[in-house]
Subunit: 379 residues, 2 copies
Amino acid sequence: MKLTISRNDLNEAVQHVAKAVSARTTIPILSGIKIETSELGVTMTASDTDISIQSFIPLETADKRIVTIHRGGSVVLPAKFFVEIIRKLPNDEVHLEVGERFQTQITSGSIDIELVGLDPEEFPVLPHLEEDRMFSIPGDLLKSMIRQTVFSVSTNESTPILTGVLWSLQDGVFKFVATDRHRLATCQIKSDAGDQLRFSNVVISGKTLNELSKIIPDQNLLVDIVVADNQVLFKLGNVLFFSRMLDGTFPDTTKIIPTSFRTELILNTKALSDAIDRAYLLSREEKTNIVRLSTTESGSVEISSSSSELGRVQEQLEVAELRGEQLRIAFNSKYMLDVLKVVDSEQLFIGFTGAMSPIIIKPDHENSLHLILPYRTTN
Amino acid sequence: MKLTISRNDLNEAVQHVAKAVSARTTIPILSGIKIETSELGVTMTASDTDISIQSFIPLETADKRIVTIHRGGSVVLPAKFFVEIIRKLPNDEVHLEVGERFQTQITSGSIDIELVGLDPEEFPVLPHLEEDRMFSIPGDLLKSMIRQTVFSVSTNESTPILTGVLWSLQDGVFKFVATDRHRLATCQIKSDAGDQLRFSNVVISGKTLNELSKIIPDQNLLVDIVVADNQVLFKLGNVLFFSRMLDGTFPDTTKIIPTSFRTELILNTKALSDAIDRAYLLSREEKTNIVRLSTTESGSVEISSSSSELGRVQEQLEVAELRGEQLRIAFNSKYMLDVLKVVDSEQLFIGFTGAMSPIIIKPDHENSLHLILPYRTTN
């Protein structure tokens, strides 16, 4: 292989695929990036077996030449060093030449680099997915759905299925569910997928979704999603992102979400968030994060927390609406703050069915719903 | 004690003194901030015994009232929570009232906080320094001198004196020296101190100087420096910063700095820094950080490094001047990059007296000088 390539385009492709390189792999070939030429351009691939990212660099764009392939071929180069040195090359053009035993020469201006390359035949082959089960959603919407749910996945590896987000598609409704048994987040949108395309129990690791989120550009790009047997493929322009699904059955969570409430609140999202943040500061010192919410006779809400060592914080909060029974409830303020951070409406709804029952938080639209289990305290 | 105080001014003072609160103190009173009223205003103090910071809030400034003292007194409040809650109070005014057994009530708008306060009599008394040994230097200059030297202090606690920067003042020349036995940094300026004021062997902990640096405002403020027996006091407007000196005698380093050279280079600072940074990327993988510099027959310089696992990087660098003998030398590229980061001139001088002798790096003015010991390699 011998090629001349634009530094900026090479750098962009390499930075993308680098996100799939595992920092601590025991399989040497997986610590590399595979570079491969074709008649159409150059393809970069990296994989940690859970996720694989492929980035394609075309020979030219409308207005300029990007790659000149003098001799086709392929090689695997050590990712960590390769990624950093490409980022730090000062010249516009990079020459890459693979010699005997994959010894690779990289030159750019007065800089001369020799790298020990690996045999590309050893690199894992990416699955070929049938693209008949494909639908598309705008990238910013996919990012938002990930953000609304991914913080609620379990970090406990003893129940691996809960470290992922459950995806389903039914009658065109694309839905995410995440839970760690103490809280639950769900989010759904109407997609462009027809009634024919449907799936359920597709569970994708929270970690993978965070990586995917980073790679989705902020410009409004349509992301194509292909769901296959045990893999999901995301197509983002010249970048392909493959993810393994998690094995196992995600628990049915529909029954634990109450639909009628004994106490209902509507209040300002920021005001509630700020008040709970202040109470959290004190509760954190007790390591419990317990904060209390009580309705008052005058129709407002009191947020409070106390610490035996430090003291007490107490705050009155005006509400837009308070319906139903008086209530006094305790909860993990960190969980509540996590929810309030992603609620994207000025006002929100909180519904209670008693001090021992799940708390439901909803923005003023129907796209997402959050659930937090209360603390069972005696006072 | 009972007072009403502007939230912004209280917050600013509290953020300043908080830098002296030790996160892991076993002495409960030192985890607090002391608040004390006087006829002139309110003083906040925090101390970890190595450094103490005091911030004064006057009753009023030219255009507005800041503090109203309803009843004088003092209290010590738990720093960590107090600092964060004051930062997060939404209202302009804060009321503070100390009750029985130092129980303190803080109210602001609809927020009501009760804090367990401590007895201010238990708080350490700050030293009273005679101000006859005082001189002043501009804050940005002091910051720059700290930055030029502090990275070279030792992190090895077995020689505590080398974890500090040596200060001296002689004939109006104010000088800093730092060394960890592998490298040395020195920096000096002509101060406004007369010939009468002189000191030597004043050694101040590198950690303390980093904290001091953070507290010096970016505006061009004159910092008053008072040197006493075993303490140095810095006066920055309404903030006083006390630092203990380190015990012991700083080694004499004047003799190890060569004054004549066998090879001399003048080159562009950024070009050298970028080239060494690229070579460092590879040398880092070998954990040695060894980079080589060689002069070439054609009068340029070659920067290179190699790794048995990864390969080799080699780069030609144009120099503005090359005088004296041909040279091939190896050094710790991390140390060199640390120096190049603080060199503030476009071109720099490097002087060598052989492959086994100290390397001297100087900007194109005489204010600072850096020394790095080379690696003794066989090839």
